[in-house]
Amino acid sequence: MATAAAMPMSREASNYDEISMQQSLMFSDSLKDLKNLRTQLYSAAEYFELSYTNDDQKQMVVETLKDYAIKALVNTVDHLGSVTYKVNDLLDEKVDEVSGTELRVSCIEQVWSDYFNYFVGETMHGANRTKSKYIGCSLDDEDDWHQFRNAVRATIRETPTSSVRETPTPSVRRGRSPSPSPRPPQRSATFSFTSTMPKKELEKRTVSPHRFPLLRSGSVSRPTTPNKSRPTTPTSAGARRRYPSEPRKSASMRIQPEKESPKDIEQFPSKSKRLLKALLSRRKSKKDEMLYTYLDEY
């Protein structure tokens, strides 16, 4: 296929070369004829002069001279017209080629200037450009930008398996600051939530290795498990006292799910497991106590 496609191209090219070669040959022949026409006219003039002076039939010589002059003039005009047309055509072709070359050079200059401005501009204003990337992500203010930068630094410093922090509130702030969507309303919601959290809960949350869970629906479905199991448990008040789920419930039942903390979302499985274990153990001990009292009565 490639050879078949290349064959017409080569044929066209060869035809174009042949045509141009023929045209150039014809042009050179025309120029040679024009050069020879001058010598022919001079020799013809000498011949007719001699004939007019030596021959008796002068009128016939004059008529022949007239015919020759007319033919020579017509032939000269024809030659000159052909040559001038070819010269004009060649000049126009060269002007078109130069115009096309100018256009291509202009395109190259444009591409080069864009290329140069892009790289040199990026080198000169790289920091500003990096910052401007984040301006579209609601980092309009300088404070937001600094907070985001500090958050990124904190994210780089912190590891998911970090140790338990001493003070709960600053640790939670540091842990929440590298949130993927650092918006001020989220921070306010987080602060209100963390302020209601007990110290024990916060310490347990910091132990959680999964800081950024992806499934948000778990935060809505998880609290339903202890709520469903709560009416079946006879000592739900004690369990509630030992594992206070009210702040967590109030936080998880909010309609704005994007304001929830990722740590809260991740904390529910372990919490619910512990709650179920505690309830079961409590129920078991309660059952044992009831059994013992029943046996004592009887």
């Binding site: 009128q59 004059v62 007239k66 002059a69 007319i70 003039l73 000269t76 005009v77 000159l80 001038t84 010269v87 004009n88 000049l91 060269k94 002007v95 130069v98 115009s99 070359t101 100018e102 050079v105 190259i108 200059e109 080069w112 140069f116 790289f119 040199v120 990026e122 080198t123």
Partner: protein
């Protein structure tokens, strides 16, 4: 006889004058056409010179632009740190 010969000579002179005027007319036509041809050649020379001058100017401009581009590309290739992202 002399009178008839005079008339014949007059007729011949008249014919010769007419032929001479015809020849002059023919020569004037030929010279006029040659002059037109010369004028055409002069005009063609002027237009061709003008076209060649504009072409030369364009080629000079193109040569300068290409030289500038060559210098810029050479400078950029000499400093590749500018183009490292």
């Amino acid at each position: 006889m002399a009178r008839a010969g005079g008339i014949t000579n007059a007729v011949n002179v008249g014919i010769a004058v007419q032929a001479d005027w015809e020849n002059r007319e023919f020569i004037s036509h030929i010279s006029l056409n040659v002059r037109r041809l010369f004028e055409f050649l002069v005009q063609f020379e002027a237009t061709t010179k003008s076209k060649l001058a504009s072409l030369n100017e364009k080629l000079d401009t193109l040569e300068r632009r290409l030289e500038l581009l060559e210098v810029q590309v050479g400078t950029a290739s000499a400093n590749p740190s500018l183009f490292s992202t």
